[in-house]
């Protein structure tokens, strides 16, 4: 069994209780950080650890923190992005429901590093259980002087508020999150300015994913070198992989970065249901370009390897599709999600994505026309890198990759005027 970091104590009974958490080294990282480190030293330490953002983009966390201006004269905010909404992703929920203090400890240390005295956890509205757990944990942390004034008697103050979203994918986009947190519609902001300089309530703001922040106490406790012992040279640490789809053992697996995808599916996920043939895998949440079965044979699960394969590690939501999957149907389903979730402010995303959904659905229903695939790809080109936020590109990720890699299946649909795939009806794909 590999050594775990984030899920190490996940099965300890009552680990969500602060006293139990403290017995398992809980809040020792915080104490060490406050007593032995200056804020800048923490930033340097995290930079040295190579910790990269676990929300999808993989931006180095320490570097992000170092962008916060020290002399803006405005309060600095820290927002924990707990709006986990990328289809195929369910790791942050687990971290929050099972080990909330690990996250809170990471938040306090990060806040200390960036000189922030007001932090928020922006949590997805549907996560009612995680909310309850976090509320309780935050109250306990205040009681135990791990939050509030003069934390652990080291002179550092931090208020932490839990804020629930109202159910929107785009609230997970960092500036959409800030708008929502300010009480407005979750509509991404034009960048620049970037949140590190002008963010929440116009103050410098750091936004980090739940998993990213949960790693911080461990890096403080055990050092950058130890952390770099996990994973690859540029993708350090472990990663929570979310396995779903046509797989025998779906679930969250913590493994070092760089694990071969094949090993993840077969050794950990228990292989494909019913011994059927693998067809495709979406490696990093629904927006990341799909991999064919042949690519799955070769690719490793770290930022660089997946980028080299033309896709992304993203949120590490690994969606496994076997031979009973109709790629056209799956695409229609994915675009339906993005068409539904587009915030609607910018033109290409608002209009283009629903258009793509309609075409994909039509092809699946046997009413595809010659030229539809070229049209779809051209719509993608008209969206690609032209939208206000990354959502446009998220929406076209599956479209371009599905058509490019499974073109003959699309062509069969159009030519035959029907869906030629024998689907496994026992798994409901459309929600």
């Amino acid at each position: 069994m590999e050594e775990k970091i984030l899920l190490k104590y996940i099965d300890v009974p009552d680990i969500e209780n602060i006293e139990v958490y403290q017995k398992h080294d809980g809040y020792k990282g915080l104490a060490k950080a406050l007593k032995q480190h200056k804020p800048d030293q923490i930033i340097e330490l995290v930079k040295a650890s190579g910790l990269r953002g676990r929300g999808g983009a993989g931006f180095p966390a320490g570097l992000k923190w170092s962008f916060v201006p020290k002399d803006s004269g405005k309060p600095v905010f820290l927002c924990c992005n707990a709006d986990e909404g990328e289809p195929g992703t369910f790791k942050d929920r687990l971290l929050m429901e099972k080990n909330p203090h690990q996250l809170i400890e990471g938040i306090v240390i990060t806040a200390y590093a960036v000189n922030c005295h007001q932090a928020y956890i922006y949590i997805r509205g549907e996560f009612s259980q995680a909310m309850q757990v976090l509320e309780q944990a935050i109250a306990e942390a205040y009681e135990h002087n791990c939050l509030g004034k003069n934390i652990l008697k080291q002179g550092f103050n931090l208020e932490l508020s839990l804020h629930s979203g109202a159910g929107s994918y785009i609230a997970g986009e960092e500036t959409g999150l800030l708008e929502s947190l300010e009480g407005k519609r979750a509509e991404p902001r034009l960048k620049p300015p970037f949140p590190a300089s002008v963010g929440l309530f116009k103050g410098p703001t750091v936004i980090n994913n739940v998993e990213t922040l949960s790693n911080v106490p461990h890096i403080i406790m055990r050092g950058a070198e130890w952390f770099k012992g996990f994973g690859t040279e540029k993708s350090t640490g472990t990663k929570l992989f979310c396995l779903s789809g046509h797989i025998n053992k779906p679930g969250v697996y913590e493994l070092p970065m760089g694990i071969p995808l094949k090993e993840l599916i077969n050794n950990y996920g228990g292989g494909i249901i019913g011994g059927r043939k693998l067809k495709a895998v979406i490696p990093g949440g629904s927006s990341t370009p799909v991999l064919t079965a042949e690519q799955v044979e070769e690719v490793a699960m770290d930022f660089e390897s997946l980028q080299a394969a033309g896709t992304m590690l993203g949120s590490a939501g690994v969606i496994v599709m076997d031979e009973t999957t109709c790629m056209v149907d799956a695409l229609a389903n994915l675009t339906r999600f993005y068409a539904h979730e587009s915030c609607g402010q910018c033109t290409p995303c608002r209009e283009g994505v629903s258009w793509m959904e309609k075409i994909a659905r039509r092809i699946e229903e046997g009413k595809g026309l010659e030229g539809d695939l070229e049209l779809l790809l051209d719509i993608c080109d008209n969206i690609s890198f032209k939208t206000l936020c990354p959502m446009g590109d998220a929406a076209i990720g599956p479209v371009v990759s599905f058509i490019t890699k499974f073109r003959s299946e699309f062509e069969d649909h159009i030519r035959q005027g029907r869906c030629p795939i024998e689907k496994d009806k026992s798994i409901k794909v459309r929600g």
């Binding site: 929107s168 519609r185 034009l190 068409a339 539904h340 979730e341 587009s342 915030c343 609607g344 402010q345 910018c346 033109t347 290409p348 608002r350 209009e351 283009g352 994505v353 629903s354 258009w355 309609k358 075409i359 039509r362 026309l369 049209l375 080109d381 008209n382 890198f385 032209k386 939208t387 206000l388």
Partner: protein
């Protein structure tokens, strides 16, 4: 300063301006929808994306600031393809109902599609449908399916009127602009969202289906409904006003106007406009010729002067009429007759001054030319008598003849002042329609509304601005200065101005503060007096 290149053109521009602004300086138009110079920048329409050397993605021209050495391409293949793509996206769910759309002919979407769009649609799906027409408020309708969701209207209500009635509702392709539940778009500036809308989504209830816009004649003028003097354009057809819209003037009205002004010109088209001089005969007013009218004035004034002296004649100038009109009244009374009793009618204050946080202001004084009427009536070294004092002289019998210039769109004199008018032996009134002034008048001479006039108003800031005639006058109605000139001549005065312009030139010489001005230099935005 930054040295940049736009489409090969080298130029030097101020640091910190945007690509869109720089292109404007270079005379290059970058198509856009959501950008508006008076509103915050959202960068959401994606129409203004341009290519910048060394930047991998196309960038929004509206929000990207200039950097030294920037090399910008506004019509490269990639840029044009994006424009075509954005326009196609706008059109897929658009009803394409240009033939019955009020905006046709002045529609940004239409113009851009004409320039960059495709003649063939690639969209074969069902269009999304919305409620066809929503009533947002007393003046504004919303054709949701035509909306491009640029959000200018929403930002206007957030940033300029600060009334916040509008928002975007729902997400994605189901997005639509609407009023918040329980609210109506009925702020004083609501009509501006119609002007701001680049397409035919926001339309004016008053103008709806009145005319195709290309049949309209556009005349630059000044709003007569408060002392701010918003610069306007009168859109007319067949000698009727169909629409009034603001013209930009940063010194006066930015580029807005209030709904009172925008929709308040109906008095011009009153059914009962006066078309010939009227003389009282008992309870009746009978029509007489102009010559008869002038003779009547001459006869009555001469009689009163010879029996009671010059000071038995008084006149009240009008803050609703132009400087030129009021100046001729001054010549008649002070020079030709020689009476000192010239007053300026004080307009009643009916509401408070309204200052919007964005700076736009609706003045409490609902007359357009109080400052100007006072300027041209004043004689150096002598206080102007108030119209109230003057009316008291009428009541006391000291003044027996009163020359009263009217022209107020809907002013009402207080009852007691109106009663004083009954006391006067000879009341001659200029007005455009029956009013409380004409009620007791012995003689009424029909004058013009603002929309038929040439001349100048001086706004509350002392800015002298020109009116231009959009309509032909009804019947024998004449500008007041012309009528007064005839009266002067009949009374032996030596005046002969061929035009309002010539009267203004006389004012320039005679009235302090106007010396630096010339009629031609007033242009279409006016000039501040000295």
């Amino acid at each position: 300063m930054a040295n940049i290149k736009i489409d090969g053109k080298e130029l030097q521009v101020a640091d910190g301006i945007t690509i869109l602004e720089a292109a404007d300086i270079a005379g290059i138009e970058i198509p856009h929808f959501c950008y508006h110079k008076e509103l915050s920048i959202r960068g959401s329409c994606r129409m203004c994306l341009v290519e910048v050397e060394k930047m991998p993605k196309l960038v929004p021209a509206c929000s990207t600031t200039i950097k030294d050495e920037m090399n910008i391409f506004t019509s490269s293949e990639r840029v044009i393809k994006n424009r075509r793509g954005v326009l196609e996206f706008f059109l897929i769910n658009h009803p394409l109902d240009c033939p019955i759309c009020d905006q046709a002919g002045e529609c940004t979407l239409q113009d851009y599609v004409y320039k960059y769009g495709s003649a063939v649609s690639r969209f074969t799906e069902e269009k999304e449908h919305f409620e066809r027409r929503k009533e947002l408020g007393p003046h504004v309708l919303h054709y949701t399916e035509r909306c491009v969701l640029c959000g200018r209207c929403i930002r206007f209500c957030e940033e300029i009127s600060e009334t916040r009635e509008l928002a975007r509702f729902n997400r994605s392709f189901r997005s639509e602009v609407d009023v918040f539940p329980g609210k109506r778009l009925d702020n004083k500036l609501s009509g501006n969202v119609v002007d701001l809308c680049p397409v035919g989504a926001m339309v004016s209830k008053e103008f709806l289906f009145k005319s195709r816009v290309w049949w309209l004649t556009h005349t630059e003028s000044i709003c007569p409904l408060c002392s701010r003097g918003c610069n306007i354009e009168i859109d007319s057809r067949d000698n009727k006003i169909l629409r009034v819209r603001p013209r930009p003037n940063p010194e006066v009205n930015i580029q807005w106007m209030c709904d009172d002004g925008r929709f308040g010109w109906d008095f011009v088209q009153r059914e009962d406009r006066l078309t010939s001089p009227l003389k009282r005969e008992g309870a009746e007013m009978v029509s007489i010729s102009r010559t008869q009218a002038i003779n009547l004035v001459k006869g009555r004034l001469s009689y009163i002067i010879s029996n009671f002296g010059k000071e038995a004649v008084a006149a009240i100038a009008s803050p609703y009429l132009t400087n030129e009109d009021n100046y001729l009244l001054r010549i008649l009374l002070l020079s030709v007759i020689g009476s000192p009793y010239l007053a300026v009618c004080q307009p009643p204050q009916v509401e408070e001054r309204m200052v919007f946080p964005s700076g736009f202001t609706i003045e409490a004084d609902k007359s357009p030319n109080l400052a100007g009427a006072q300027d041209v009536s004043a004689v150096e070294g002598r206080e102007l008598i108030s119209h109230r004092q003057l009316l008291q002289k009428v009541a006391s019998g000291e003044v027996r003849a009163l020359y009263f210039l009217g022209g107020a769109p809907r002013m009402s004199l207080p009852v007691e002042e109106r009663e004083m008018l009954r006391k006067v032996d000879f009341l001659v009134v200029h007005d455009y329609a029956p009013s409380e002034l004409t009620e007791w008048a012995e003689l009424v001479l029909p004058n013009l509304s603002f929309a038929e006039r040439e001349g100048t108003f001086t706004n509350f800031q002392g800015r002298v601005q020109r009116l231009r005639p959009a309509l032909l006058p009804p019947g024998e109605a004449k500008p007041d200065w012309e009528i007064l000139q005839e009266v002067c001549q009949a009374m032996g005065g030596e005046v002969n101005y061929p035009s309002a312009e010539k009267v203004f030139e006389e004012i320039v010489g005679a009235v302090p503060g106007y010396k630096s001005l010339s009629y031609k230099d007033l242009g279409n935005q006016g000039k501040a007096k000295g």
